[in-house]
Protein backbone atom coordinates (compact mmCIF):
# COMPACT_ATOMS: atom_id res chain seq x y z
CA UNK A 1 0.00 0.00 0.00
CA UNK A 2 2.79 2.38 0.93
CA UNK A 3 4.55 1.71 -2.36
CA UNK A 4 1.29 2.24 -4.22
CA UNK A 5 1.00 5.72 -2.71
CA UNK A 6 4.59 6.52 -3.71
CA UNK A 7 3.95 5.37 -7.27
CA UNK A 8 0.68 7.26 -7.78
CA UNK A 9 2.02 10.40 -6.17
CA UNK A 10 5.23 10.38 -8.23
CA UNK A 11 3.53 9.73 -11.57
CA UNK A 12 0.41 11.88 -11.35
CA UNK A 13 0.10 14.12 -8.31
CA UNK A 14 3.66 15.42 -8.04
CA UNK A 15 4.54 14.95 -11.69
CA UNK A 16 8.20 15.87 -12.00
CA UNK A 17 7.82 18.16 -15.01
CA UNK A 18 4.37 19.67 -14.57
CA UNK A 19 4.39 20.32 -10.85
CA UNK A 20 8.06 20.21 -9.75
CA UNK A 21 9.65 21.82 -12.83
CA UNK A 22 12.55 19.41 -13.14
CA UNK A 23 13.63 18.27 -16.58
CA UNK A 24 11.88 21.12 -18.37
CA UNK A 25 14.76 21.51 -20.89
CA UNK A 26 14.32 18.07 -22.52
CA UNK A 27 10.55 18.50 -22.05
CA UNK A 28 10.65 21.49 -24.40
CA UNK A 29 13.61 20.29 -26.48
CA UNK A 30 12.72 16.76 -27.60
CA UNK A 31 8.95 16.94 -27.65
CA UNK A 32 8.29 17.69 -31.30
CA UNK A 33 7.65 14.05 -32.27
CA UNK A 34 5.99 11.27 -30.27
CA UNK A 35 8.55 8.64 -31.35
CA UNK A 36 11.61 10.64 -30.19
CA UNK A 37 9.79 11.59 -27.00
CA UNK A 38 9.20 7.91 -26.23
CA UNK A 39 12.89 7.12 -26.93
CA UNK A 40 14.07 9.89 -24.63
CA UNK A 41 11.59 8.73 -21.98
CA UNK A 42 12.96 5.18 -22.11
CA UNK A 43 16.53 6.40 -21.68
CA UNK A 44 15.51 8.63 -18.77
CA UNK A 45 13.68 5.80 -16.94
CA UNK A 46 16.80 3.67 -17.24
CA UNK A 47 19.30 6.33 -16.11
CA UNK A 48 17.24 7.85 -13.28
CA UNK A 49 16.58 4.46 -11.66
CA UNK A 50 20.21 3.38 -11.94
CA UNK A 51 21.63 6.76 -10.85
CA UNK A 52 19.36 6.92 -7.80
CA UNK A 53 20.43 3.46 -6.62
CA UNK A 54 24.13 4.28 -7.07
CA UNK A 55 23.96 7.72 -5.43
CA UNK A 56 21.90 6.26 -2.57
CA UNK A 57 24.63 3.70 -1.89
CA UNK A 58 27.34 6.36 -2.14
CA UNK A 59 25.48 8.64 0.26
CA UNK A 60 24.98 5.94 2.91
CA UNK A 61 28.21 3.97 2.59
CA UNK A 62 30.78 6.65 1.69
CA UNK A 63 29.63 10.21 2.38
CA UNK A 64 27.87 9.67 5.72
CA UNK A 65 30.48 7.37 7.38
CA UNK A 66 33.30 9.71 6.34
CA UNK A 67 31.27 12.76 7.41
CA UNK A 68 31.75 14.53 4.10
CA UNK A 69 28.10 15.05 3.15
CA UNK A 70 28.92 18.63 2.13
CA UNK A 71 30.54 17.12 -0.97
CA UNK A 72 27.11 15.72 -1.98
CA UNK A 73 26.57 17.94 -5.03
CA UNK A 74 30.06 17.38 -6.45
CA UNK A 75 30.03 13.64 -5.80
CA UNK A 76 26.57 13.14 -7.30
CA UNK A 77 27.16 15.05 -10.51
CA UNK A 78 30.43 13.21 -11.15
CA UNK A 79 28.78 9.84 -10.50
CA UNK A 80 25.90 10.67 -12.82
CA UNK A 81 28.21 11.87 -15.60
CA UNK A 82 30.38 8.74 -15.28
CA UNK A 83 27.33 6.49 -15.08
CA UNK A 84 25.81 7.88 -18.26
CA UNK A 85 29.09 7.31 -20.09
CA UNK A 86 29.33 3.78 -18.76
CA UNK A 87 25.73 2.92 -19.66
CA UNK A 88 26.42 4.18 -23.15
CA UNK A 89 29.53 2.00 -23.56
CA UNK A 90 27.88 -1.13 -22.10
CA UNK A 91 24.74 -0.72 -24.18
CA UNK A 92 26.81 -0.38 -27.33
CA UNK A 93 28.50 -3.75 -26.63
CA UNK A 94 25.63 -5.73 -25.10
CA UNK A 95 22.55 -4.57 -26.96
CA UNK A 96 23.24 -2.68 -30.19
CA UNK A 97 19.51 -2.55 -30.97
CA UNK A 98 18.68 -0.78 -27.72
CA UNK A 99 21.72 1.47 -28.22
CA UNK A 100 20.38 2.43 -31.64
CA UNK A 101 17.07 3.39 -30.07
CA UNK A 102 18.38 5.27 -27.01
CA UNK A 103 21.92 6.20 -28.11
CA UNK A 104 21.46 9.80 -29.20
CA UNK A 105 19.56 10.70 -26.04
CA UNK A 106 22.04 9.36 -23.51
CA UNK A 107 24.62 12.21 -23.58
CA UNK A 108 21.77 14.72 -23.18
CA UNK A 109 20.70 13.13 -19.93
CA UNK A 110 23.72 14.29 -17.91
CA UNK A 111 22.36 17.83 -18.01
CA UNK A 112 18.79 16.72 -17.26
CA UNK A 113 18.19 18.20 -13.83
CA UNK A 114 15.59 15.53 -13.09
CA UNK A 115 18.38 12.96 -12.56
CA UNK A 116 20.27 14.99 -9.97
CA UNK A 117 16.98 16.26 -8.56
CA UNK A 118 15.58 12.78 -7.87
CA UNK A 119 18.90 11.63 -6.37
CA UNK A 120 18.81 14.53 -3.89
CA UNK A 121 15.06 14.20 -3.24
CA UNK A 122 15.26 10.59 -2.03
CA UNK A 123 17.94 11.63 0.48
CA UNK A 124 15.80 14.55 1.71
CA UNK A 125 12.74 12.30 2.02
CA UNK A 126 14.69 9.71 4.02
CA UNK A 127 13.57 6.80 1.87
CA UNK A 128 15.19 3.39 2.24
CA UNK A 129 16.76 1.64 -0.74
CA UNK A 130 13.61 -0.11 -1.98
CA UNK A 131 11.45 3.00 -1.57
CA UNK A 132 14.09 5.08 -3.36
CA UNK A 133 14.16 2.69 -6.29
CA UNK A 134 10.38 2.63 -6.56
CA UNK A 135 10.20 6.42 -6.25
CA UNK A 136 12.92 6.96 -8.88
CA UNK A 137 11.33 4.54 -11.32
CA UNK A 138 7.83 5.96 -11.02
CA UNK A 139 9.08 9.55 -11.18
CA UNK A 140 10.81 8.71 -14.45
CA UNK A 141 7.63 7.05 -15.72
CA UNK A 142 5.77 10.25 -14.86
CA UNK A 143 8.37 12.21 -16.85
CA UNK A 144 7.91 9.91 -19.84
CA UNK A 145 4.12 10.15 -19.59
CA UNK A 146 4.07 13.95 -19.63
CA UNK A 147 6.73 14.06 -22.38
CA UNK A 148 4.75 11.75 -24.67
CA UNK A 149 1.44 13.54 -24.06
CA UNK A 150 3.09 16.88 -24.71
CA UNK A 151 4.72 15.60 -27.90
CA UNK A 152 1.29 14.49 -29.10
CA UNK A 153 -0.06 17.98 -28.44
CA UNK A 154 2.84 19.63 -30.25
CA UNK A 155 2.40 17.43 -33.31
CA UNK A 156 -1.09 18.90 -33.62
CA UNK A 157 0.11 22.44 -32.82
CA UNK A 158 2.42 22.25 -35.84
CA UNK A 159 -0.61 21.96 -38.11
CA UNK A 160 -2.62 24.95 -36.94
CA UNK A 161 -2.28 28.65 -37.59
CA UNK A 162 -0.75 30.47 -34.61
CA UNK A 163 -0.49 34.31 -34.29
CA UNK A 164 2.95 35.59 -35.26
CA UNK A 165 4.54 36.44 -31.91
CA UNK A 166 3.25 33.23 -30.35
CA UNK A 167 4.85 30.84 -32.82
CA UNK A 168 7.18 28.18 -31.50
CA UNK A 169 8.08 28.27 -27.83
CA UNK A 170 5.42 30.68 -26.44
CA UNK A 171 2.48 28.59 -27.67
CA UNK A 172 4.24 25.41 -26.53
CA UNK A 173 4.65 26.88 -23.04
CA UNK A 174 1.01 27.90 -22.89
CA UNK A 175 -0.08 24.39 -23.96
CA UNK A 176 2.20 23.01 -21.23
CA UNK A 177 0.42 25.33 -18.79
CA UNK A 178 -2.95 23.92 -19.78
CA UNK A 179 -1.57 20.39 -19.48
CA UNK A 180 -0.28 21.26 -16.00
CA UNK A 181 -3.73 22.58 -15.17
CA UNK A 182 -5.20 19.22 -16.21
CA UNK A 183 -2.68 17.37 -14.03
CA UNK A 184 -3.72 19.50 -11.05
CA UNK A 185 -6.96 17.53 -11.15
CA UNK A 186 -5.04 14.58 -9.70
CA UNK A 187 -4.04 16.55 -6.60
CA UNK A 188 -6.85 15.19 -4.44
CA UNK A 189 -5.87 11.59 -5.03
CA UNK A 190 -3.20 11.13 -2.38
Amino acid sequence: MEYFVIIISAIFVNNIVLSQFLGVCPFLGVSTKVSTAAGMGGAVVFVITLATIVTYLIQHYILVPLEITYLQTIAYILVIAALVQMVEIILKKVSPALYQALGVFLPLITTNCAVLGVAIMVIQKNYNLVESTVFAFSTAVGFTLSLVIFAGIREHLALINVPNGMKGIPVALISAGILALAFMGFSGMV
Binding site: L18, L22, V24, C25, Q72, I77, A81, C113, G117, G165
Partner: protein, 199 residues
Protein backbone atom coordinates in the same frame (compact mmCIF):
# COMPACT_ATOMS: atom_id res chain seq x y z
CA UNK B 1 35.64 43.53 -28.13
CA UNK B 2 33.55 46.27 -26.67
CA UNK B 3 33.12 45.44 -22.96
CA UNK B 4 29.94 47.49 -22.57
CA UNK B 5 28.28 45.55 -25.37
CA UNK B 6 29.63 42.34 -23.88
CA UNK B 7 27.95 43.24 -20.60
CA UNK B 8 24.58 44.43 -21.89
CA UNK B 9 23.92 41.60 -24.36
CA UNK B 10 22.70 39.39 -21.53
CA UNK B 11 19.75 41.64 -20.75
CA UNK B 12 17.66 41.64 -23.90
CA UNK B 13 19.52 40.65 -27.07
CA UNK B 14 20.87 37.35 -25.75
CA UNK B 15 18.84 37.06 -22.58
CA UNK B 16 19.34 33.50 -21.32
CA UNK B 17 15.67 33.01 -20.44
CA UNK B 18 13.70 35.01 -23.02
CA UNK B 19 15.88 34.43 -26.10
CA UNK B 20 18.23 31.50 -25.54
CA UNK B 21 15.68 29.50 -23.49
CA UNK B 22 18.33 28.07 -21.19
CA UNK B 23 17.85 27.23 -17.55
CA UNK B 24 14.10 26.75 -17.74
CA UNK B 25 13.81 24.58 -14.62
CA UNK B 26 14.82 27.19 -12.02
CA UNK B 27 13.06 29.87 -14.10
CA UNK B 28 9.72 28.12 -13.76
CA UNK B 29 10.30 26.49 -10.38
CA UNK B 30 11.48 29.38 -8.22
CA UNK B 31 9.53 32.37 -9.50
CA UNK B 32 6.50 32.08 -7.21
CA UNK B 33 7.32 35.59 -5.96
CA UNK B 34 9.59 38.44 -7.05
CA UNK B 35 11.94 38.01 -4.10
CA UNK B 36 12.44 34.28 -4.73
CA UNK B 37 13.16 34.97 -8.40
CA UNK B 38 15.69 37.65 -7.48
CA UNK B 39 17.40 35.39 -4.91
CA UNK B 40 17.69 32.52 -7.34
CA UNK B 41 18.89 34.84 -10.09
CA UNK B 42 21.61 36.37 -7.92
CA UNK B 43 22.78 32.94 -6.70
CA UNK B 44 23.10 31.80 -10.31
CA UNK B 45 24.82 35.06 -11.31
CA UNK B 46 27.42 34.53 -8.56
CA UNK B 47 28.15 30.96 -9.65
CA UNK B 48 28.27 31.99 -13.30
CA UNK B 49 30.69 34.88 -12.71
CA UNK B 50 33.02 32.96 -10.39
CA UNK B 51 33.15 29.85 -12.57
CA UNK B 52 33.73 31.98 -15.68
CA UNK B 53 36.69 33.70 -13.96
CA UNK B 54 38.27 30.47 -12.72
CA UNK B 55 37.74 28.59 -15.98
CA UNK B 56 39.25 31.37 -18.06
CA UNK B 57 42.28 31.31 -15.72
CA UNK B 58 42.87 27.55 -15.84
CA UNK B 59 41.79 26.93 -19.45
CA UNK B 60 45.37 26.47 -20.67
CA UNK B 61 46.17 23.74 -18.11
CA UNK B 62 43.15 21.53 -18.79
CA UNK B 63 43.57 18.88 -21.50
CA UNK B 64 40.88 19.25 -24.12
CA UNK B 65 39.46 15.76 -23.61
CA UNK B 66 38.58 16.16 -19.93
CA UNK B 67 37.48 19.80 -20.10
CA UNK B 68 33.75 19.20 -19.55
CA UNK B 69 34.19 17.11 -16.34
CA UNK B 70 36.73 19.66 -15.07
CA UNK B 71 34.31 22.53 -15.73
CA UNK B 72 31.57 20.66 -13.90
CA UNK B 73 33.76 20.15 -10.83
CA UNK B 74 34.66 23.85 -10.75
CA UNK B 75 30.99 24.83 -11.10
CA UNK B 76 29.90 22.29 -8.45
CA UNK B 77 32.44 23.75 -5.99
CA UNK B 78 30.97 27.23 -6.32
CA UNK B 79 27.44 25.85 -6.06
CA UNK B 80 28.42 24.19 -2.78
CA UNK B 81 29.81 27.53 -1.56
CA UNK B 82 26.51 29.27 -2.40
CA UNK B 83 24.46 26.44 -0.88
CA UNK B 84 26.31 26.47 2.43
CA UNK B 85 26.52 30.27 2.77
CA UNK B 86 22.83 30.68 1.95
CA UNK B 87 21.91 28.03 4.53
CA UNK B 88 23.96 29.98 7.09
CA UNK B 89 22.98 33.59 6.35
CA UNK B 90 19.61 33.43 4.53
CA UNK B 91 17.92 30.32 5.94
CA UNK B 92 14.38 31.46 5.00
CA UNK B 93 15.25 31.98 1.32
CA UNK B 94 17.32 28.79 1.30
CA UNK B 95 14.29 26.88 2.56
CA UNK B 96 12.10 28.39 -0.19
CA UNK B 97 14.49 27.65 -3.04
CA UNK B 98 15.37 24.25 -1.60
CA UNK B 99 16.31 21.72 -4.23
CA UNK B 100 16.98 24.35 -6.89
CA UNK B 101 20.20 25.60 -5.26
CA UNK B 102 22.19 22.34 -5.78
CA UNK B 103 20.57 22.10 -9.20
CA UNK B 104 22.44 25.23 -10.38
CA UNK B 105 25.16 22.70 -11.27
CA UNK B 106 23.10 21.30 -14.12
CA UNK B 107 21.80 24.70 -15.24
CA UNK B 108 22.63 24.83 -18.94
CA UNK B 109 23.57 28.53 -18.85
CA UNK B 110 26.51 28.03 -16.52
CA UNK B 111 28.11 25.19 -18.45
CA UNK B 112 27.08 26.83 -21.72
CA UNK B 113 28.96 30.07 -20.96
CA UNK B 114 31.96 28.12 -19.65
CA UNK B 115 32.17 26.13 -22.86
CA UNK B 116 31.31 28.82 -25.39
CA UNK B 117 32.88 31.90 -23.79
CA UNK B 118 35.21 31.42 -20.80
CA UNK B 119 37.21 28.62 -22.41
CA UNK B 120 38.12 30.91 -25.32
CA UNK B 121 38.47 34.39 -23.80
CA UNK B 122 40.59 36.26 -21.26
CA UNK B 123 39.85 36.68 -17.56
CA UNK B 124 38.38 40.18 -17.72
CA UNK B 125 36.09 39.50 -20.70
CA UNK B 126 34.89 36.32 -19.03
CA UNK B 127 34.14 38.21 -15.81
CA UNK B 128 32.10 40.80 -17.71
CA UNK B 129 30.32 38.10 -19.70
CA UNK B 130 29.48 36.09 -16.59
CA UNK B 131 28.23 39.18 -14.77
CA UNK B 132 26.13 40.34 -17.73
CA UNK B 133 24.60 36.96 -18.42
CA UNK B 134 24.04 36.28 -14.71
CA UNK B 135 22.35 39.62 -14.11
CA UNK B 136 20.30 39.15 -17.27
CA UNK B 137 19.12 35.85 -15.85
CA UNK B 138 18.33 37.48 -12.50
CA UNK B 139 16.49 40.28 -14.34
CA UNK B 140 14.32 37.78 -16.25
CA UNK B 141 13.54 35.79 -13.11
CA UNK B 142 12.61 38.93 -11.18
CA UNK B 143 10.24 40.07 -13.95
CA UNK B 144 8.60 36.66 -14.16
CA UNK B 145 8.39 36.48 -10.36
CA UNK B 146 6.82 39.96 -10.19
CA UNK B 147 4.24 39.12 -12.87
CA UNK B 148 3.25 35.92 -11.11
CA UNK B 149 3.16 37.57 -7.69
CA UNK B 150 1.06 40.53 -8.84
CA UNK B 151 -1.46 38.33 -10.67
CA UNK B 152 -1.44 35.66 -8.00
CA UNK B 153 -1.73 37.79 -4.87
CA UNK B 154 -1.79 41.45 -5.95
CA UNK B 155 1.60 42.17 -4.42
CA UNK B 156 5.16 42.87 -5.61
CA UNK B 157 8.05 42.19 -3.21
CA UNK B 158 5.36 41.88 -0.53
CA UNK B 159 3.88 45.38 -1.11
CA UNK B 160 0.16 45.44 -1.79
CA UNK B 161 -0.55 47.07 -5.17
CA UNK B 162 -4.36 47.22 -4.69
CA UNK B 163 -5.15 46.01 -8.19
CA UNK B 164 -7.89 43.62 -7.12
CA UNK B 165 -11.26 44.70 -5.67
CA UNK B 166 -11.93 44.07 -1.97
CA UNK B 167 -12.54 40.45 -1.08
CA UNK B 168 -10.58 39.11 -4.06
CA UNK B 169 -7.16 37.75 -3.13
CA UNK B 170 -5.82 37.23 -6.62
CA UNK B 171 -5.71 34.60 -9.31
CA UNK B 172 -4.32 31.69 -7.35
CA UNK B 173 -3.38 29.64 -10.40
CA UNK B 174 -0.51 32.04 -11.24
CA UNK B 175 1.28 31.10 -8.03
CA UNK B 176 0.77 27.40 -8.76
CA UNK B 177 2.55 25.33 -11.39
CA UNK B 178 0.37 25.99 -14.48
CA UNK B 179 0.67 29.75 -14.02
CA UNK B 180 4.44 29.52 -14.43
CA UNK B 181 4.10 28.05 -17.91
CA UNK B 182 1.35 30.49 -18.91
CA UNK B 183 3.14 33.60 -17.63
CA UNK B 184 6.46 32.64 -19.24
CA UNK B 185 4.73 31.82 -22.54
CA UNK B 186 3.11 35.25 -22.72
CA UNK B 187 6.30 37.06 -21.58
CA UNK B 188 8.38 35.38 -24.30
CA UNK B 189 5.81 36.26 -26.96
CA UNK B 190 5.97 39.91 -25.83
CA UNK B 191 9.78 39.90 -25.95
CA UNK B 192 9.65 38.34 -29.43
CA UNK B 193 7.36 41.16 -30.55
CA UNK B 194 9.68 43.86 -29.13
CA UNK B 195 12.78 42.29 -30.66
CA UNK B 196 11.16 42.05 -34.08
CA UNK B 197 10.31 45.76 -34.00
CA UNK B 198 13.86 46.82 -33.09
CA UNK B 199 15.47 44.89 -35.97
Amino acid sequence: MNQVKNFTKGFLKENPVFILLLGMCPTLGTTTSAINGLGMGLATAFVLTMSNIVISMVKNFIPNKVRIPSFIVIIASFVTVVDLSMAAYLPALHEQLGLFIPLIVVNCIVLGRAESFASKNGVFSSLVDGLGMGLGFAFALTILGSVREILGSGKVFGFDMHIFPKGVDGILVFVLAPGAFLALGYLISIVNKINKKSI
